[in-house]
Amino acid sequence: MGIQIEGLSKRYGDGPTAVEALKDVNMSVAPGEVVGLIGPSGSGKTTLLKCLGAVIEPTRGRMTLGGQVIYDGGWKIADLRVLRRDRIGFIFQAPYLIPFLDATDNVALLPMLSGQSNSAARARARELLEALDVAHRAKALPAELSGGEQQRVSIARALANRPPVILADEPTAPLDSERGLAVMRILHQLASQYATAIIVVTHDEKIIPTFKRTYHIRDGRTVEEAGTGRAGASVTASGAPG
């Protein structure tokens, strides 16, 4: 289950000007696991994230999500929009909350898009906001929330449809170290609580020790490093690595 990638490649363009952004990338993340994807700028992290998020099509390879093959030389899912909506959660570098929806409706929007009733969707949103300790700001608009609160609401949104996989694109980048570590603590807790596989793309040296496993990506190739840091479970309640 979780997500598996085998021999994934992505080439931009054709002929002599073609750029091989990903070269035979292999990766596997189990449910409840949080892995880091680390690499310098231009190494292919974002391209990999976009392939995983089904927003760009790989050139070749195979991807399995929650036990279902979603790509094998071509998309195996008819509607990628529904795949993204129901089976992949996204956390962005900036929270990118919808500015005219309050925290509850930002989270409830996804279940609503999936066809849930407004009341059921809002109940789910309240449950997640409670779990992420921002329930007291449920009625606040994004502009009224602090950076950390916004990021927690965006994490709640990513979890709203109970996806088997969450892709986090530098989720701690706009936060200071304390808040960044707090976000990582939350991600580790939620991964184990909801059995979600989480891939975190990061540059942030301070959070790297929180991963049990990391994938280093360089020139489009991944190298797995196990035991690079302490487990997320060992991050203390204050957010600092224990």
Binding site: L49, I56, R81, M112
Partner: protein, 397 residues
């Protein structure tokens, strides 16, 4: 499902209201232009209705008296009265000129009429009707005169004894009604120097001043200084007679042109104000295009300001139709606000216009439809931009 458009509007309501206000004022101008045209048409109809005539008898082969100069001898009405079906016939004259009140001039159409006959203003809003044979006048309230004012028409002063309403020429000039004989004199009377010159010229002409024909010169001079023509004869048809048939009889036997009310309406509306209506039509088209451009620009700009949010919405699985619907709804709400502001604005400033502005409810309904259509069309550019947003844009820096 929550209304994304509604939430966005509520979130940035001040921007929407201010934009709607600006758009509304433009729509208000559009409504007013349409109202001016409707007012011109209505003025023409009211003018015909208030004259109390069923037929307008004018000089043959002319469209007079409103659209073309027409001259009919002032005794023609007597022979018209002998035609079966003619109940009343009365002379009228029309002359557009400057009427003086104190030190100010007012452009007005001076109407000569016979009291108690067709052509007399039917309704007064103040004062009384003209009861004396000379030097009394009834004026349209738009002339700005008050009962008791002394106005000057050519050489003579007239007392305004009554005021009427909605009696204006096709050019929008208010009408001033004076007794027929005074109007004829005003129309044809020359100044004293011109009369002296004309008399000398006539006396010097041997053909007109023959020694053997006493009285000829006096008769010719008398005819030169008195007006014996009118512009039209207004006819009221007797009960039970078809105005069209009576008009045909008049044309056949009296060598004049006779127009029924429908024909006169056609002349006034289709011919006389045709150019004005085309002018207004052009303004309406331009204003509609400008309104569309404004809505398109605003909605497009607002959409561009939300590109990142739209990319996120698409990435998390929002259907394109939901995003298109959000933009469309915003454009339509902008149109609704603009329409409401425009309608209210036109209603408020309409009466301040010098010409009658008639805001027809049906025009408002059609206007609302056009505003909505314009908003739909204007939103297509923004919808196109939104649908082109790549969800991948949400990922990465």
């Amino acid at each position: 499902m929550i209304s994304l458009a509604g939430r966005d509007i509520l979130h940035s309501w001040s921007k929407f209201v201010l934009t709607g206000l600006g758009l509304g004022l433009l729509i208000g101008v559009t409504f007013t232009m349409a109202g001016v045209y409707r007012g011109m048409v209505d003025d023409a109809k009211v003018l015909l209705n208030n004259s109390g005539a069923d037929l307008w008898v004018v000089q043959k082969d002319t469209l007079g008296p409103y659209a073309e100069p027409s001259s009919v001898h002032d005794d023609v009405y007597r022979s018209l009265l002998g035609i079966p079906g003619v109940a009343q016939a009365a002379n009228v004259t029309y002359l557009t000129m400057q009427v003086r009140l104190g030190e100010t001039d007012v452009r007005a159409m001076v109407v000569g009429f016979v009291p108690g006959e067709p052509g007399e203003p039917r309704y007064l809003i103040a004062g009384r009707r003209v009861t004396r044979s000379h030097y009394e006048a009834v004026a349209d309230v738009n002339a700005g005169f008050a009962v008791g004012d002394r106005i000057r028409i050519r050489r003579h002063d007239y007392t305004v004894v009554g005021l009427t309403r909605r009696m204006v020429s096709s050019g929008g000039d208010p009408m001033v009604f004076i007794p027929l004989k005074d109007a004829q004199e005003a129309q044809f009377l020359k100044d004293n120097d011109a009369i002296v010159n004309e008399r000398a010229r006539t006396a010097g002409n041997p053909a007109l001043n023959r020694p053997g024909v006493p009285g000829l010169l006096d008769a010719i001079e008398a005819s030169q200084t008195s007006g014996r023509t009118v512009n039209a004869v207004l006819v009221r048809v007797a009960m039970g007679h078809d105005p069209e048939r009576v008009a045909a009889e008049l044309r056949r036997w009296k060598h004049v042109e006779a127009y029924t009310r429908a024909q006169m309406e056609d002349i006034l509306i289709a011919k006389l104000i045709a150019t004005a209506s085309k002018q207004i039509g052009m303004f309406l088209v331009i204003l509609t295009i400008v309104s569309a451009a404004i809505v398109a620009f605003i909605i497009y700009t607002m959409t561009l300001g939300k590109i990142r949010e739209i990319a996120v919405l698409k990435l998390i699985g929002t259907h394109n139709s939901t995003i298109a619907s959000m933009i469309l709804q915003q454009a339509l709400w902008l149109g609704v606000i603009g329409f409401a502001v425009g309608k209210i604005a036109a209603t408020i400033w309409g009466p301040a216009f010098p010409r009658y502005v008639l805001l027809e409810p049906w025009d408002a309904v059609v206007g609302f439809g056009i505003v909505m259509l314009v908003c739909v069309l204007a939103s297509t550019l923004a919808i196109r931009a939104a649908l082109r947003v790549d969800p991948a844009a949400a990922i990465g820096g």
